[in-house]
């Protein structure tokens, strides 16, 4: 298995989709909604951006398509996606990387601006 660090830094759209999938298995439109919600409405993905990103994540082995639909949803036309074990590690590694950047930014700028 490839090292999670070899995938970093992730493209913002990929990270947003991975973060959305940390909440559970979702179909495309639910991912769009989750991304919009988690970004406070700042990131609004269009359909092709979403599915292009999902294709990259699936090809890279970070997400996978479920062959069967979860029982709670009766719409058999929708395809559901979930994080793979590698996808979880990569998502966490990217979050750690961004957290380290946030720490540096805060420690450098907060004293000056406060």
């Amino acid at each position: 298995m490839e090292s999670p660090d070899s995938f970093l830094p992730l493209a913002p759209a990929q990270f947003h989709v991975l973060v959305a999938l940390t909440d559970g298995d979702l179909h495309g439109y639910a991912i769009m909604q989750a991304v919009e919600e988690s970004s406070g409405g700042v990131v609004k993905m269009g359909p092709a951006t979403l599915y292009g990103t999902l294709k990259r994540l699936v090809d890279a082995g970070l997400a996978e398509e479920l062959a069967r639909r979860p029982a709670r949803d009766d719409d058999q036309r929708r395809r559901y996606y979930r994080l793979t074990a590698l996808g979880q590690k990569v998502c966490l590694a990217e979050a750690d990387r961004l957290a380290a950047l946030v720490r540096v930014t805060r420690s450098n700028l907060r004293p000056r601006l406060s």
Binding site: D25, G28, Y29, M32, K44, M45, G46, P47, A48, T49, L50, Y51, G52, K55, V58, D59, G61, E64, E65, L66, A67, R68, R69, P70, R77, R78, R79, Y80
Partner: protein, 200 residues
């Protein structure tokens, strides 16, 4: 299906065929969901931006695949080497022969990992790429031949045997172009890599 959905479904045809085949229904479904939630104006606003960004991007990505780039590299190295050999053999500008050879070696050395990978994993679309290249070259030949034919047909020196020979060359090129295109069309396309699916 509403008129909006039908319009978007038609616009999805702008995407590369592989992406379209795999995601057309999902794209339309997501658009319909947006339409139901946000209304036509906002759904189209978001989708228009999405189309304008992703159509050229996905088209470009399809053209500039790794295999295409490697193929172009191999061709460049081959063309430079051939140019160097011809320059040397014909005695035209020996300095140019050396320069072309140095360029070919520099490209091969700087891209050695990509070229080595191409040797280990042969490009399954190589034949199709070669046929496309040959078709392009034949196309150029036809355009050039036609232009020269028009230019020379009024010249008295080109009547008789020379003009017949020239016509033969022109039609042989045309035949070659058609043959190459037909062969290219008959070459089966590589299927798209399927997405990974797992049991729920």
């Amino acid at each position: 299906m509403t008129g909006h959905a039908r319009t978007y479904r038609a616009l999805v045809r702008l995407y590369p065929s592989g992406f379209r085949r795999e995601y057309r229904d999902d794209l339309v479904q997501a658009f319909c969901d947006l339409l139901a939630r946000d209304g036509a104006a906002r759904a189209w606003g978001r989708t228009a931006v999405d189309l304008s960004v992703t159509v050229p991007r996905y088209r470009l990505e399809t053209i500039m695949t790794s295999a295409t780039t490697t193929f172009a590299l191999q061709l460049t190295i081959a063309a430079l080497t051939l140019g160097a050999v011809l320059s040397y053999l014909t005695g035209v500008y020996p300095g140019v022969a050396l320069l072309l050879l140095v360029l070919a070696i520099a490209i091969a050395v700087s891209q050695r990992s990509r070229l080595a990978r191409a040797v280990r994993e042969p490009d399954p679309d190589r034949r199709r790429r070669l046929l496309r290249l040959a078709a392009s070259l034949f196309g150029l030949c036809i355009v050039g031949s036609a232009a020269m034919f028009v230019e020379l047909s009024g010249d008295e020196q080109w009547h008789g045997g020379k003009l017949v020979a020239y016509n033969a060359f022109f039609f042989a090129t045309l035949l070659g172009a058609v043959g190459t295109l037909v062969a290219g069309l008959r070459t089966p396309r590589q299927p798209m890599t399927p997405g990974r699916t797992v049991a729920a």
